[in-house]
Subunit: 118 residues, 2 copies
């Protein structure tokens, strides 16, 4: 067998209704994950591209959050209606969907200090 | 801000006790995820390297399964006792822990047919 060619992680994390960031589950994360699975399997891409539910991806304010590896491309505000375009243009075609891409400087990650990582 | 430098997905999926493959949750996936979080945060790597709980990574027989992106390195049979070595040698040091790495031909992924992916 082999590694997956691409691995798509969809946040389905649930937070309390009082959290000001909101959460991906309330915005439809489970439905978005199901739509990826349906689209990929329908194209015969099962086990070639893996759709994967994920716990909190730490981009709560941007949900539904999706990250595609090994590309490292992040999407925000993804709805069920966006899934087919992401699969067609990015997963199959190799061109990320610019209107949904979250630029690195809008993500919550940090750069390492010198010497923290080799 | 920035993208995460590395993103570590730990399978915490639960399957019924009758499933012959077993599952990562029964083998300690939640505890392994907690150990990654503790180790990374203790090193000041919060939001530099993200530990992430994941749904089924489709390597049930190899659990606890862990995949590190963007490297695309897969680990199998990971225990709490292995986490510090993975963080020290791979996450910080850049050298995957060979004794725990699952080779691509032992994974469940498939290669695409010509024309399926560009």
């Amino acid at each position: 067998m082999a590694s997956f060619q691409r691995h798509v992680f969809i946040c389905v994390n649930e937070r309390g209704a009082e959290d000001p960031r909101g959460c991906c589950q309330a915005r439809g994360g489970v439905e978005v994950a199901a739509a990826f699975k349906q689209s990929l399997y329908a194209r015969g891409l099962k086990r070639i591209v893996r759709p994967n539910k994920a716990g909190c991806l730490d981009q709560c304010a941007l949900g539904v959050s999706v990250v595609v590896y090994p590309d490292g491309v992040w999407y925000g505000g993804v709805t069920v209606e966006d899934v087919e375009q992401i699969v067609e243009e990015h997963i199959v075609g190799g061109r990320p969907v610019a209107r949904l891409v979250v630029p690195p400087d809008a993500l919550t990650g940090r750069s390492p200090e010198p010497g923290q990582l080799s």
